[in-house]
Symmetry: C2
Subunit: 576 residues, 2 copies
Amino acid sequence: MDKIIRVNMTDLKVVTETVPAEWVTLGGRALTSTVVAAEIPPTCHPLGPNNKLVFAPGMLSGTPAANSGRMSLGSKSPLTGGIKESNSGGTTAQQFARMGIKALIIEGHPQEDKWYHLHITMEGVTIEEETETVGWQNFAVIEAMEKRYGDKIGVMSIGVPGEKRMRAANISVKDPDHKIRSHGRGGMGAVMGAKRIKCITVDSQGAGKVPIVDSDKFKKGARAFAKAILDHPITGQGLPTYGTNILVNVLNEAGGLPTKNFRYGQYDRHDNISGETMHDIIVSRNGHPKHGCHAGCIIQCSQVYNDAEGNYLTSGFEYETIWGLGAHCLIDDMDQIAECDSIMDDIGIDSIEGVVTMGVVMEAGVIPWGDGKGAIRLLREEVGRGTALGHIIGNGAGSVGDAYGLTRVAVVKNQSIPAYDPRAVKGIGITYATSPMGADHTAGYAVATNVLKCGGFVDPLSKEGQVELSRNLQIATTAVDSTGMCIFVAFPGLDLPEVFPALTDMIGARFGVDIDPGSFIEMGKEILKLEHAFNLAAGFSNAADRLPEFFEYDPLPPHNVVWDFTPEEIDAFWNF
Amino acid sequence: MDKIIRVNMTDLKVVTETVPAEWVTLGGRALTSTVVAAEIPPTCHPLGPNNKLVFAPGMLSGTPAANSGRMSLGSKSPLTGGIKESNSGGTTAQQFARMGIKALIIEGHPQEDKWYHLHITMEGVTIEEETETVGWQNFAVIEAMEKRYGDKIGVMSIGVPGEKRMRAANISVKDPDHKIRSHGRGGMGAVMGAKRIKCITVDSQGAGKVPIVDSDKFKKGARAFAKAILDHPITGQGLPTYGTNILVNVLNEAGGLPTKNFRYGQYDRHDNISGETMHDIIVSRNGHPKHGCHAGCIIQCSQVYNDAEGNYLTSGFEYETIWGLGAHCLIDDMDQIAECDSIMDDIGIDSIEGVVTMGVVMEAGVIPWGDGKGAIRLLREEVGRGTALGHIIGNGAGSVGDAYGLTRVAVVKNQSIPAYDPRAVKGIGITYATSPMGADHTAGYAVATNVLKCGGFVDPLSKEGQVELSRNLQIATTAVDSTGMCIFVAFPGLDLPEVFPALTDMIGARFGVDIDPGSFIEMGKEILKLEHAFNLAAGFSNAADRLPEFFEYDPLPPHNVVWDFTPEEIDAFWNF
């Protein structure tokens, strides 16, 4: 029987509750956003006692469904001031699901000046004072927890930036290889730090299997679903071979690779940082081009990237990170970029917010353009140690822009715009503008249809059709984010008609309910509207759904395009 | 014939325009807010090329009317993101008025990486590259300009924080004694810095008198008006004797003196920093308890405060500054507070934002509570030099709170709450919440009626009548801010029936128009609504009209009161 666990940090008590009927078939983002909207006062301070952290595995997490091992985390974001769902790979979603934990809701604020550690077992949750690992970064915390509890333990932790409540701080999640995945965006690590929880350990010994009501139906769906993933060229070939970093050359070719803090759409040294180059480096150093972020992943877009001596340097090395330090900051050395990636994992900073911020740091003149060693030093010694400059940087691109009085700061709702220039890929610009999450490419990845010609083609340079495209993608993504599925299943989902029926068949079989692609999409609509309503109640107006002003008056080469949507055109997004 | 001067910093051109008919009888805040609302795109970046600076002397500035020498400055505030009117004493309002400059509107952004200096004479405005004083603080700039142009020159300048576009940076205005008054609040210095104007000099040689259409009527009004100011106990006796700092003991007695960053309503060492103590120190060191911020001031609430050796230390030494470093930061040494005040004048930081920020700096643990020497060092060496920590502090209390992830940060619309705790003086809380300017006691000084029993009495601890009180005061203040009058004329205005008719008689006589107290107040209503509408268009929602959450759950001793207005009660403010 699934349960809800509530941990109250004010009185240090744990309560286990039965799952309310209306939450039984929910999971992932649908569940976290439902709880956030129902329980968090929209105008509360995100770092105050009235905010909560809501962890929920996806509907299919813990089942044999391929790529279903992602955990959703909901809260009011200290970065955006709005609702947040941030999902991560790692081991905890599958552990929670098998342990029957439908959601873990962390509430309140400790009254004493102490740090705590939550330990979750089949017996329940204990809240223990934590002293050993306070002030440590994530890799050391994981190592200490494995030493304390054995290497099968699941770990979710924060580094120093999270302890210091920096708004780019993420929550790090141990993956199957003892490395790190992240609830990256929106400053979830700062909320955990405000609640003075250094880490959460998950011991799933004694947990059974996730119950599936209609096993045959499930297996049939799961097979069709897995086959589609493997059949599609992006998930079956492109991502496993080059990782997401295949996109450097694709976006450069499209003129939408934001370069030198969104001044240009192409980077003359794109070859230095491309997926193809990265693949060759990985292979030549005996790394692994393929790697999964959770058990059961059949896409394997991750990798193990070794240094020149063949020692492990980083993994989960994404296009957005490489773009951000590469084209955006003009750092053309892949190893320096990989070192920054590893540091961001270790100290616990969102690697998108972190890299976009670094470009704004260069814009401010704190270090020169292209200074990879400077970036490494700033991350490790300033952000990682929490100096004054570290606090400016660790609070994200908007923070640096505000601190230094800059106007060229690519954020929406104070969250950094990643890797795809909205002037040249207009569909993703609509997603940046309208997503309740703040600028987030994963919220409605219009790049697929604008550039990759997945799900058809909508001209990236034209306004026509972009609002509808982004709307459909955001609705579908909201639904998919509720399943525990990796968002990349959307690629086959857009092109192969069997994917969504297979997915909803698995959900129906899991819970013994009737669900079809139509009702699944309806759920996505409802949740997206609920998130938007939370933001409005938190004080956002339509003006929050806008890109920074400079995109409107500063044309982007080579297409020399500006962001030219009217406010009314953008606001039409919400007409559904 | 009055004129509008437009300075375009993009193409470095100056245009002189005739005054549009609908602006002829406007002045001060009514004119600046009208221009801001008409010409600045509400969603523009405040530090970008589409923001403007609008200087306008009051309707009566330059005339013989007592206390009419204040200049209004309008813009979109980089601190609040909303409309701003910030008015200052000094010499420039009267100079502008006599030179026939109805408004100076500065637009655009220079394209080159250079600093500029505007020089205003009867012949017009010249835009010159400035090299000598770049990187200097305000006292040195004033001295340099007096050397360059003679000691009668009017000066408006920014220090290093303004050059570096810090959002607490003010614009400093030379006063008749070569000291400094300020367009303090809202970060106007950052806007001037963004436009790369280091200083504006005003040479009014050759200017005549301000024309008055009905001289006899004017004189009669002016006499009645001046008599009322001198007759009222606050403006005739309290302020000239003790300055605004008379309020330390008054607010302490009322339990509304925010202490240790708004933890308590009383300060046990209030005697060390009181107006009475200050008066004795000034007299014992051969300073001057009375002093005016502009020619024609008959209240003389300012003073000359000397150091222990009898040398000039500071002037314009206000209650809010002394409260902020005293009770709020627990610095109980008047000389250390005076030194901070002088530094804030010199480097050009709003002395309200600066002191509230210092308490948040202590809250963050950057320096200990009560560390006056530390505060001096931070202001001079960090903010004044623009270090990373200086940028955090120089961007105000909200910036420090965001940087260090704090919840006890007393700001509304990101502007600091001054010197009167809204839980114990509820009328001023409504002003803080609703003023389009952000938290600003001068926008509707309900302390007068809540605590000083001026204009009747409304119980400060009860919600009853506070919204109406604040509304009436904000409307009247908006009107008074348009006249060039010092806001302290409101004290006699609240108690003596002859004041407002005398004021409107002077305005009517000045322009040859019919205006009475009723139509004057109607104008105040219109302008206040216009400002509110600008903010809504800029993206503010009702949720912007709220106090920080901690006031709602943290009771203030000794009365143990919380902020208990419902959102609906606050929003009723705008029903007029």
